[in-house]
């Protein structure tokens, strides 16, 4: 089966190169911005692209569990690195906004966080990621215990939703792209509901039914 062969490949691949390769697009973006290769408004370009990377990585992280449940692909060992990279790009996005876009207008920046709903929810999404990245290490998993750790990491769901809404909310008119991201997040969250329904249905059928792996 293709899934088995892919899983065999994934087992051989280490996760650490993600920490090496992951930051490269961000470094490349800043390099291009500094050398004038990003066009008339490099600040906006970097802001937009770092935000997109963060959202894409959040979605990639959210896809790991459904890919296992529905396609039999086991990418679990990469999820921590994906999540940490998502946080890193969200942080770079926030930094770009605060330092380069808002410049020295700190009062306006703080005011915008409070007054502008799309900025408020973007900030909230970032803050929800903070406890997740702080507990993305083996020691934290041991200290919290698997159940509590997993429950804490459900914060990924509201964070993903808020991040996607942050994108939808900031655009003018109705471009397709932000809705594609929102759709992906809603779809991946919806799959979890479907999987949960299937699990409780099979539990109701009694102990004879094969129990699917928890996710």
């Amino acid at each position: 089966m293709l899934a088995d062969r892919l899983n065999a490949l994934f087992r051989k691949l280490p996760a650490w190169p993600i920490y090496i390769v992951g930051p490269l697009p961000g470094i490349w973006l800043y390099w291009q911005g500094a050398t004038g290769a990003l066009g008339a408004d490099p600040v906006r370009a970097i802001e937009h692209q770092t935000g997109l990377y963060a959202l894409q990585l959040i979605i990639a992280g959210l896809a790991v569990t459904p890919l296992r449940g529905f396609a039999g692909l086991n990418l679990l060992k990469f999820r921590r690195a994906i999540g940490i990279m998502a946080f890193a790009y969200a942080g770079l996005h926030l930094f770009t906004w605060a330092a380069l876009d808002m410049g020295l207008y700190w009062a306006q920046a703080l005011g915008d966080i409070v007054k502008r709903p799309y900025i408020t929810i973007g900030m909230a999404a970032f803050l929800l990621l903070v406890p997740l990245v702080a507990t993305s290490n083996d020691r934290a998993v041991r200290r919290l215990g698997a159940v509590r750790w997993r429950k804490l990491h459900w914060l990924t769901y509201p964070a993903a939703l808020l991040a996607a809404l942050h994108f939808v909310w900031l655009v003018k008119a109705w471009p397709l792209e932000p809705f594609v991201y929102l759709g992906a997040v809603l779809g991946l969250l919806g799959l979890r509901v479907v999987a949960k329904g299937a699990r409780s249905a099979s539990r109701r059928k009694g102990a004879a039914a094969p129990s699917p792996t928890a996710s």
């Binding site: 380069l100 410049g103 900031l170």
Partner: protein, 266 residues
């Protein structure tokens, strides 16, 4: 691109213009796509010759006016204007154009007329995003007659001394420098004089966010972002921000709005 003959104008700002490259590669012209780079990429498909403008409504000499006809006997001026987008970015643009009031005088505005309505070309075969329902096409804008007659209000046919590139609104566009950029409608094919305030595209789509007046005003925020400051396009990675000026610095238009509450008439 053909060189244009023009004279300088006292209405120009002394600020150094934004680079031509930046002015022509960073555009909002949703007929060609949502991306800032889309107009530069796709507006080449637009045929701008022949071109005519239908002038109708409350005018003495309505009709379909060819662009040559409109430009006949018109003396072009360079107007270096500040340009402030509602999205809080700004440029300095050296337009070549002529006052709209001159054209209005030629067609004879009737006394009942109170507003001027404008329409952009509708040609989905050449304006690719018009095949989608991104906006309610054709794009429409409007001015009160006194705003339209103000000497700062021009129809522009050039940029940096040459014919205006398609992505900037060729072959003829409106420029109203004290208003947010979306008021300065591009690629105009119709000008109508009316007795009531015309419906305008952004105002109809999101009235809370885009008013009919849309005067640049640092004191009246857009519901989703502050209008107190702006970023200068072309200033580079560390260009920072600057304060936005009321009426985009064109204080001489303040008289048009005496007695009006600009927080209500935003």
């Amino acid at each position: 691109m053909a060189k244009l003959a023009y004279s300088r104008s006292d209405y120009s700002t002394p600020d150094a213009p934004t680079n031509l490259e930046d002015i022509t590669s960073y555009n909002n012209f949703y007929e060609f796509g949502f991306g800032k780079g889309d107009p530069a990429k796709y507006a080449g498909a637009l045929t701008t010759d022949p071109w005519s403008i239908k002038i109708d409504g409350l005018v003495d000499r309505p009709g379909e006016y060819g662009l040559d006809d409109i430009l006949k006997g018109v003396s072009l001026e360079e107007r270096i204007y500040r340009f402030r987008c509602v999205e809080a970015w700004a440029m300095i643009v050296p337009w070549i154009g002529f006052p709209l009031s001159g054209l209005l005088d030629r067609v004879g505005v009737q006394s009942k007329a109170k507003y001027v309505a404008f329409e952009t070309l509708l040609r989905p075969s050449e304006m690719r995003a018009q095949k989608t329902s991104a906006l309610d096409w054709p794009y429409r804008e409007g001015l009160r007659l006194d705003e339209a007659r103000h000497p700062l209000t021009i129809l522009a046919t050039g940029l940096y001394g040459e014919e205006i590139p398609n992505q900037n609104g060729a072959p003829i566009r409106l420029v109203v420098p004290w208003k947010y950029g979306f008021k300065s409608i591009k690629s105009i094919v119709r000008i109508s004089l009316t007795d009531r305030q015309p419906e305008t595209t952004w105002n109809a789509l999101q009235p809370e966010e885009y008013g009919f007046y849309a005067n640049v005003n640092p004191e009246v925020d857009h519901p989703r972002w502050s209008q107190a400051t702006e970023r200068r396009v072309g200033a580079g990675l560390f260009g920072g921000r600057q304060d936005t000026l009321k009426f985009n610095g064109y204080e001489e238009v303040a008289g048009l709005y005496v007695g009006q509450d600009l927080a209500r008439d935003y």
